[in-house]
Symmetry: D2
Subunit: 285 residues, 4 copies
């Protein structure tokens, strides 16, 4: 990127009011922040306004705090404003035994498609250590043998803290349930891939549930994790058709292809500042 | 169809055993029933064998009972055998207010795509009477005003009986819950379209549920009706992608296109003798 | 709709410039045109700016010409501005023998889902006259027997003129090729459904071509008609999976379901002023 | 697998005749080859019969040649019979610069999902050498600098011969056109992934073509390679929706996800003996 042409992202989440776009773009225009791309959405039922712009700025960014203040002045009270230079986010990946989601992320990372820093891979098993090493990413086994959930999560948090935390934790088929106490540390910062088309088949063994229910389509759901298992805001979903000839194992196999694509898609939306969360839902720009 | 070349369907549902296909095709071969198309499936977990063949027979069909007996002789005890000349099935459509599923079926009927006899359309409202009349199909309003569920279903059964019943009842957005007592009369003979991707969002207002859950995909499910609401064997499903900009009304609109296609697809599978039901699931050939 | 609260659509297609959104929304804000929904898109390669807003106006609309003038003043030379009160558009449907697209449009029309006026149905055959009559839409047979293409198109234009023309002609499986001379009269105002996933299988018999090529997916494409057969701007496309067991007839059958959905979707986009055309492509808001 | 219970695949491609299934299964039954799964398909237009069975055999396989002879005796002249014990096939992957297809295959290989032996990776560049090494697969650079197509292909064939050849060559985004002279050596044994929904956008830069045509859906096609570029028998296809906001680069990105899934799916069909080729089409069981 050109040193003197920096790219910024502006995110606004406010109560809806007449003239918001005019007022916002007026400030940006006067500040010579050039809008390269912008999107708005109004949830009429709730009276909420969402705005996202990618801007470029010729020159120094000393005015950024000032621009934020000007925006705050014209926006309704209680508005959320985010205005920062785009940067590569730090992520830490949690995984267990299956290699498809982790491997897919690593390949995208290696090719430069996924613009972030993978700081580390943490697992409750050693199965995927070799894969991490193949791609030269630090691997930490935080084993759970003989530990209570609480003890294990304490160790996990310690490990995360030692690593300096991350902008996002990516649960790439991390097969342990996380307690409310853990989740609170990374609220809206953990992206999980659930191996079903939520809200169908919440809980354990969704592919087995799908097999026994005889569904003709299965899916995968990437969502932010909140206190309630499998009930956080949905970011992305996709599906694949199956039929009666699929065994549980074949359903799993078909599902894995959807899982990895959906997880990567969701993560890339997050890395590009394209997700708003409200009312346990997402707005995706 | 040529008068002297009749088309038969053979359906077999049996315990799996060594050599079943050989034994079955041996009998068909000796009887000069020419297999035009056949399919088998073995559910290994359950040890069940499913076989479907479309056959043609040169000459008289007097041997059909004899062939059935021969098949019974070589099949395991308790096998189900169906061997009949293909015929147009009688259907009766139940509907309420929305015209898209009913209309779609009527158009397919008129073009000759849907090979059956629509004997009648029954509704608990008068909204769709005009549409029925446009296509010259007898319409019967069985209104529910002031009636208990039991009383209304009694009237509905009377109406169905007066019409001589049907091979299939098609619930084309029939928006009343049917009691166990009613269902038993048309067990595995009622095809319903549920406006969600079952088992997600069972029950009322699935589109509203989908809106509030913030899903990124919605779907529709055609299924046989059993005693438990929305839990019968699934025949066909399909989905359509949505995003946060869709209001409940727009989700409904998008959903209607999936509903009508999925219902028609399921009905045509039934009309073509292509569905086996077992363990609350379907095998579709 | 409330008498004193009118709904307007603003469409702008201009050379891209710094500050366009600010300048446009500034004018709207001062004119008390309340933006209910807006979308922008910049084609960076071509340096083009597209803007669409749905606005509501409290009070009289006498200022509309004035607002348009103000917009013209601040927009780059050569900009296209459309600002009008939303209205139901007039459409005329052309068809031939197949009933699925026509019937689907009529059902949506009857239910109120498709907000327009269907002024007439014109066909080069009489097959669909009855269907038109069922829905009480004027039907005109403009037969081509014994006529040259030129003669037939002259008659067709006469018929269209007698009917007072239409905002859009919808070619709902109208199976005659239209000459450049005809097309020029309804340039970018004719929506056709092509029974393939364009640009695959242009020309005649696409399903037969698909069968012989052994594709595993077929599709349908709704597009504006231009001088070059099947090469106009694409509005909507969708697909359905097939396999080797599908005969040409079964491919057609599967294709019909996609055709009717895609055509209706495209038409509704047009009726809602949601399509820009440029460089033989579309921007869909 | 149990030593004394071996798994066989039987493939038959013959002129269609009355009683083929009976005659075939009769021989299998008498030989105590237990059919675990079978599929048939008759192309009525061409009068061709396709049969595939997975069988298990208790005991020694000395009778296999005898069974084949018995099948030959009862099948029409010119029939193709394949009856062999299932085995892991040898594959060699050809690639150029992009890592997504190669990496995806390597991950599936590592997890045991893709049952084959990857003997080597050959590339006309060194970009993917490191990825090959990460997964410990022999990598051979057969560079084309300063060589004519003929010279390069001669070197490539030499390299393949030195490696002892392979059951399948997988072109995982191998971006060089192969001459007829080369293709003849691996006719119907090379699986290519073409980055478009064939037959749309044959030739170079399909994503750029798709961008300029303004399509709303893009796809990928896995096919066997024959003498005519991009015109070999199609094995698998899939698509993904795009819209006007996608740049060529974003179309490519979206396309890559489809490419890798479709290529892997096609390869797994081949590895499982599930593909028949005839008339430049495939039958997939």
């Amino acid at each position: 990127m050109n040193q003197s042409l920096q790219k910024y992202v502006l995110l606004i989440h406010a109560r809806d009011e007449l003239g918001l776009i005019y007022k916002i773009t007026s400030i940006l225009y006067q500040a010579s922040l050039n809008i390269e791309k912008n999107s708005e959405y109004v949830d009429k039922e709730e009276g909420l306004f969402f705005f996202r712009a990618e801007c470029s700025l010729q020159g120094l960014n000393q005015q950024i705090p000032e621009i934020k203040q000007q925006l705050l002045n014209i926006l309704p009270q209680g508005s959320m404003i985010f205005l920062e230079e785009c940067k590569r986010k730090d992520i830490i990946i949690l995984c267990t035994k299956e290699n498809h989601c982790l491997g897919d992320l690593l390949l995208r990372y290696e090719s430069g498609e996924m613009e972030c820093n993978i700081k580390a891979i943490i697992s409750n098993h050693r199965y995927l250590q070799k894969l991490a090493e193949r791609f030269e990413i630090p691997f930490y086994a935080v084993l759970s043998d003989g530990l209570s959930r609480e003890q294990h999560e304490t160790k996990l948090l310690q490990q995360l803290d030692e690593l300096g935390g991350a902008d996002y934790l990516v649960l790439a088929k991390y097969m342990r349930i996380l307690s409310e106490e853990f989740v609170v540390h990374y609220k809206n910062k953990m992206i999980n891939i659930h191996h079903s088309f939520l809200p169908a088949f919440v809980g354990a063994n969704p592919y087995k549930q799908a097999y026994h229910r005889g569904v003709k389509i299965i899916g995968a759901t990437a969502h932010f994790v909140n206190e309630n298992l499998d009930e956080g805001p949905i970011i992305a979903q996709d599906v694949v058709k199956i039929d009666h000839t699929y065994s549980v194992r074949e359903i799993q196999k078909a599902g894995r292809d959807v899982e990895k694509i959906v997880l990567a898609r969701a993560l890339m939306l997050a890395l590009n500042y394209r997700i708003f969360i409200y009312n346990n839902k997402t707005v995706i720009f």
